[in-house]
């Protein structure tokens, strides 16, 4: 029996007194890809934030590579788990060059060989050398998201947390970034936890998908199950129907 890469049990996260995540459990083997789909306020991003240590009022257990997480995250955790956020405009420091953004994790973790690591990270995300000394405002949205991915990869993590990594991007750029993430995850054997409101994106990227509503998983299945456009839970069915675009009959059923 191999050790689980990530094991979350009975996770409850509260904002003030309201439980936004209300009892979520799942576990991932190394190399797994798992997606969480839900609408705004369902608690899907909060699950990621709890794992990353950004949501502190929580109960339940989170084990990463067999190690139980406490309230604080240490440097070893950051080497193992990295996160990519939704908005590439907000997640890069506007007054720091790409080079500085990538050099910082290397300095914090006391890793040598920064030159090589930065070069490799930029190569891995398909950004040429010419991008290294640019500021974020000199990059397009897709290029910024590549920088954010390069920054996450530079510590060679085993687990990647992705919070709506492509929803701020045009569809053609989304395709490029999703292809990139899929290739890197496969090449490096990374475990991937992806959160999105877009069922088709999650089904494309992940082997297993959980549908989240009001803080709980209402359905969890291999992504192949969703491809038949049939679901067990009525909420999942609504999401599936809506993913096909506007249909008069469907809207009539929802209006109230």
């Amino acid at each position: 029996m191999t050790e689980k890469a990530l094991d979350v049990r009975d996770l409850v996260v509260r904002y003030s007194s309201r439980a936004v995540v209300d009892g979520v459990s799942f576990s991932l083997d190394p190399g797994d890809s798992f997606g969480i789909v839900g609408e705004s306020g369902s608690g899907k991003s909060t699950v990621l934030r709890a794992i990353a240590g950004l949501a502190t009022d929580r109960s339940g257990t989170i084990d990463v590579a067999g190690k139980r997480l406490g309230a604080k995250r240490d440097l070893a955790f950051c080497r193992l788990v990295q996160m990519v956020f939704q908005d590439p405009f907000g997640s890069l420091h506007p007054k720091q060059t790409v080079d500085r953004a990538l050099a910082e994790p290397i300095a914090i973790h006391g890793l040598g060989d920064g030159e090589r690591r930065i070069q490799e990270a930029l190569d891995a995300v398909g950004l040429g050398r010419g991008f290294r000394f640019r500021y974020p405002h000199q990059l397009s949205g897709g290029q910024r998201q590549r920088v954010a991915i390069a920054r996450a990869l530079i510590l060679e993590p085993k687990i990647l947390l992705l919070d709506e990594p492509t929803s701020a991007l045009d569809v053609s750029i989304q395709a490029e970034v999703l292809n990139l993430l899929k290739r890197l995850a496969a090449e490096r054997g990374m475990t991937m936890l992806l959160v999105s409101h877009n069922l088709a994106v999650v089904a494309h990227m992940c082997e297993r998908v959980a549908v989240m509503q009001s803080g709980v998983f209402v359905e969890e299945a291999p992504s192949s199950r969703f491809r038949s456009l049939k679901a067990e839970h009525p909420y999942t069915q609504t999401l599936l129907d809506a993913s096909g675009g506007f249909r008069r009959g469907l809207a009539a059923g929802l209006v109230g």
Partner: protein
């Protein structure tokens, strides 16, 4: 009078810069009847600027030119800005993307709708409240009297967007330009908002220009679609024929979407051909 609401020929929008002009819209022509016309494109395609040019909302120093721009027989090109402003809101209106930023945060939503009525019907100001309540009802808000007194931060995104539509409707326009009206909303809520817009076209006989980046949505919601890239029209086609699109850009956009009914190891990406902008 024919059923043509809007007739646009060779619309161009450009902005002066240090190294010459940047063309945001390069020669767009179309006619709009009482139908749902989709304008679809990625960021920077000029789709929003097209909507703004029709409403005379292109910010300075932007320049708008066209061979023809006529709205129900009125020549918009020779019309002074003051008259364009009188037309705007009364007979042609816009629904913006995000109700959070487009509603006045310190005024109740009902009062904002009533204000629109009073501006456009100065003689009948007394009816403002009643009209606003009727419009809230028309956009299927269940308890209009309760919602009338709420502030924008007290309503959900979907309700805020319906309030914006009510505000546009109270002036009884002939043309509505909706710029990404559902992009900030969850899918289930966006279905409801679309159903309301759909009714407006079919029941009130409005013309709707639906600006969106979402090809699937435009395909299922609109009658006709204009595909834009880099300010230029790639092709115009019936929404139901989108599957048989001829242009490489349209095909590329359709193919690069992940689909539930298709398994792709990798999503097809495409390269942009500089010839498209010639």
């Amino acid at each position: 009078m024919s059923d043509i609401l809007l007739d646009v020929e060779d619309l161009r929008v450009r902005f002066p810069g240090l190294s010459g002009y940047t063309e945001a819209v390069r020669g767009l022509s179309f006619t709009l009847g009482r139908e749902r016309l989709g304008i679809v494109g990625e960021s920077g395609s000029g789709k929003s600027m097209t909507g703004r040019a029709i409403l005379d909302l292109v910010p300075p120093p932007g320049e708008v030119t066209a061979k023809r721009m006529a709205f129900m027989g009125l020549d918009l090109l020779s019309m002074p800005h003051r008259e364009r402003r009188a037309l705007r809101g009364a007979r042609m209106s816009m629904v913006m993307q995000d109700p959070k930023y487009s509603l006045n945060p310190v005024m109740t939503v009902g009062e904002q709708i009533a204000e629109t009525w009073r501006i456009h019907n100065p003689g009948e100001a007394g009816q403002a409240r009643e009209r606003a309540l009727a419009m809230l009802d028309a956009v299927r808000i269940r308890d209009p009297k309760h919602v009338y007194d709420l502030y924008p931060h007290e309503v959900s995104g979907g309700m805020g967007q319906r309030v914006m539509i009510a505000m546009v409707l109270v002036a009884d326009p002939d043309l509505i330009i909706a710029d990404e009206p559902t992009s900030a909303l969850d899918v289930t809520v966006s279905m409801q908002v679309l159903a309301i817009l759909d009714d407006l076209v079919s029941q009130r006989g409005l013309g709707l220009i639906f600006i969106s980046h979402d090809l699937d949505l435009v395909r299922s919601f609109c009658d006709r679609v204009i595909v834009m890239y880099g300010g230029a029209v790639m092709e115009t086609l019936n929404a139901r024929d989108l599957d048989h699109a001829q242009h490489a850009y349209t095909k590329g956009l359709l193919n690069c979407l992940p689909r539930l009914d298709r398994v792709d190891a990798n999503l097809p990406v495409f390269t942009r051909d500089p010839e498209w902008l010639k």
